[in-house]
């Protein structure tokens, strides 16, 4: 993570955001998952969305990707107000999502998964030859290590599956890619590979939204960090400025809570390990 990359991310903020959400509310029965949350991302910027379990991160992502509809608030793409009532509507607006569960079809091969829902060919027929060539190009562009594109994704490793899911999100040439907990199920080496992919996406001037529980990952790749708590914006930091303690304090919602106390005690007795 060179400082230069962070500055390029920050300088992107001089033009308007490509995706912007204002005052988003969403409830499931009695549960208020989101209560007036704001969010935006610029081209070439990696924004991390963090928060405790149940903070509303996945719900916000699903609203942006058309899986759920917001109860209130508005959404803008390139400054224009939009209504995203389905996943395919989001895709055609250039918003791609890598869901927490990856949403891959285990029985289908890599090519089928990469082009699922946007197969190449005529109206009714698929052109497997073109799709396979395109698959290799896409994977090469990401520097992905996949042995063959003609095996079911069930037989790939966790990191390879994550790679396929990320590559799939790029098929429609999106402007924004959202990744929901992409490293949660991965080991150290595979996590590093996924973080490299995230940086590739930024180099390609995409807006990247990254949800993660892992503060080290977030601080490693993000330009900006947005903290959600109980469905509201709790805080926002530039990744270069923030310490892990500040982040944890914002996530848990107070500076005088158990976690902060514990950290303070540890710091007094020689700092965190």
């Amino acid at each position: 993570m060179s400082v230069a990359t962070h500055e390029s991310g920050a300088s992107a903020a001089t033009t308007g955001p490509i995706l912007e959400l204002i005052g988003i509310g969403k409830h499931f029965g009695a549960v208020q998952a989101l209560a007036g949350a704001d969010f935006h991302v610029h081209a070439g910027e990696v924004v991390a969305l963090v928060g405790d379990n149940g903070a509303g991160k996945s719900t916000l992502v699903k609203i942006m990707s058309g899986v759920y509809q917001a109860d209130s608030g508005s959404m803008r793409v390139d400054g224009r107000e939009v209504h995203v009532h389905s996943p395919s509507a989001a895709q055609s607006l250039g918003i791609a999502t890598v869901f927490q569960d990856l949403a891959l079809c285990d029985n289908l091969d890599v090519v089928a998964n990469l082009f699922l829902g946007s197969e190449l060919g005529t109206k009714a027929w698929m052109d497997e030859v073109v799709m396979e060539k395109e698959s290799w190009r896409l994977l090469r562009e990401l520097g992905a290590k996949i042995p063959t594109v003609r095996i079911p994704v069930a037989s790939l490793s966790g990191g390879q599956r994550q790679t396929v899911a990320i590559a799939r999100s790029l098929v429609g040439n999106p402007k924004v890619v959202m990744l929901d907990e992409p490293t949660a199920a991965l080991g150290v080496a595979q996590t590093a590979e996924v973080l490299n992919l995230v940086e590739r996406l930024r180099e390609q001037r995409l807006g990247v939204v990254l949800i993660s529980h892992n503060m080290a990952d977030v601080q490693a790749v993000a330009d900006r960090i947005v903290v959600l708590r109980l469905g509201r914006n709790e805080a926002e930091f530039r990744a270069v400025d923030v310490t892990t303690e500040q982040l944890v304090a914002a996530i848990t919602g107070a500076s005088d809570n158990v976690v902060a106390e514990r950290n303070a005690r540890r710091e007094a007795s020689g700092g965190p390990e």
Binding site: P87, Q91, T97, L102, L116, G117, S118, E132, S155, G158
Partner: protein, 383 residues
């Protein structure tokens, strides 16, 4: 990927292996099993069940089940028969009316599944009872309608002239050779196509024609069945509808989030399945020269579901091929035919079929479990 014997790999090769073993045992115990007459009869016996099994395969691929296929095949065939015999409709129109009945039935099933959200198991169980009743209603008091329309009778009663059979074999073999040469000479960048299915088709066609011509010739009904299989296979593997159907069966919520209109896929497949079931019913009626109260029995449904599963189509959705309907129908049909020749009783046939089915479903379950590795258990919502 390597030489290891995974359950999925085993599942793929078990059906042809089982068929080979059955044929070996049957031909050793009774030489008449491999006679041209008997093999032709065997093919005629499996055509109707096979067509219904294609319907079952399609529904299994989207991760649903259709228990009504037997009743629907009888009901649709009864509509065709009654319109032909009692209303004097021309054969083509009577057949179209029967198929349209099937389409409406499938529409009703799909509406219950997608709009109301009733599991397909229950919807089609209710359908089984409903359409069985409808069949009896349509047949009327006599409980049987004898078909006399020459064209309807001709579907199962026509055998191609020897020369026509050879022309057919030549076309299949020539097509296979073109396909094989094409994939061997492909440019480096093009995907590898599997060659062996074409080898089987190209070599099998002349052999089959030799056998059929030694008896009465290639049965028209068998040609119709093979066309259904080829068409279904093309749809599943080459069209977007087929790909989306596979995706729906593999991971419905993932498919929906990929922008696929999952409910429309279900609608299309349930309608197609019922139309195919009626096709099987009409083939059966043409062979029996009648539609009666035992047409579309539960036995037909059970055999068709068993055939689809034995042929290697997964009960867990998203895995299988249309050709498994042929393989499975051949296994079930050969068992019945061979045991019949041996003079074995019906209990033996049921037990043998049941055991084969148990093995097939066991392999399917192992293959499915191998796919669901621990770290992605959570990635299968709704399972």
């Amino acid at each position: 990927m390597n030489g290891s014997v995974s359950p999925a790999r085993l599942g793929r090769w078990a059906p042809p292996a089982a068929l080979a073993v059955i044929w070996l045992v049957m031909s050793l115990s009774n030489p008449r099993f491999l006679s041209a007459v008997n093999l032709t009869n065997l093919m005629l016996q499996i055509v109707a069940v096979g067509a219904v099994a294609v319907a079952v395969v399609l529904v299994l691929l989207i991760g649903e089940i259709d228990l009504s296929v037997g009743a629907v095949s009888g009901f649709g065939a009864a509509v065709t028969a009654v319109l032909s015999v009692k209303q004097d409709w021309p054969a083509v129109l009577a057949i179209l009316a029967g198929l349209a009945t099937g389409a409406l039935v499938g529409l009703a099933h799909a509406a219950m599944v997608t709009r109301v959200g009733v599991p397909s198991f229950v919807v089609t169980l209710a359908g089984l009872l409903t359409w069985q009743g409808a069949l009896l209603l349509v047949l009327g008091d006599t409980g049987t309608v004898n078909i006399d329309d020459p064209q309807l009778v001709a579907i199962a009663g026509t055998f191609l002239a020897p020369a026509a059979g050879w022309a057919l074999a030549a076309a299949v073999t020539a097509g296979s050779v073109v396909a094989i040469v094409g994939s061997l000479r492909r440019e480096r960048d093009r995907p590898a196509r599997r060659v062996w299915p074409w080898v089987v088709a190209g070599a099998g066609a002349p052999v089959a024609v030799v056998v059929f011509n030694a008896d009465r010739g290639v049965p028209l009904a068998v040609v119709v069945f093979l066309l259904l299989l080829a068409g279904g296979d093309l749809m599943v593997r080459r069209t977007k509808l087929g790909r989306h159907a596979m995706a729906t069966g593999s991971n419905a919520s993932g498919a929906r989030r990929a922008g696929i209109a999952v409910d429309r896929i279900r609608l299309a497949v349930f309608m197609l399945a019922s139309v195919l079931a009626v096709t099987g019913g009409i083939l059966a009626a043409s062979r029996l020269l009648a539609v009666n109260q035992s047409s579309g029995s539960t036995d037909l449904m059970l055999t068709a579901v068993a055939a689809a599963a034995i042929g290697g189509t997964s009960l867990f959705g998203g895995r299988g091929t249309v050709w498994s309907a042929l393989l499975g129908a051949l296994v079930v049909g050969s068992l019945a035919n061979g045991l019949d020749l041996m003079g074995a009783s019906s209990p033996i046939r049921l037990i043998a079929t049941g055991l084969v089915l148990a093995v097939a479903v066991g392999l399917d379950t192992l293959a499915h479990r191998a796919e669901v590795t621990p770290f992605r258990e959570h990635s299968r919502p709704g399972r």
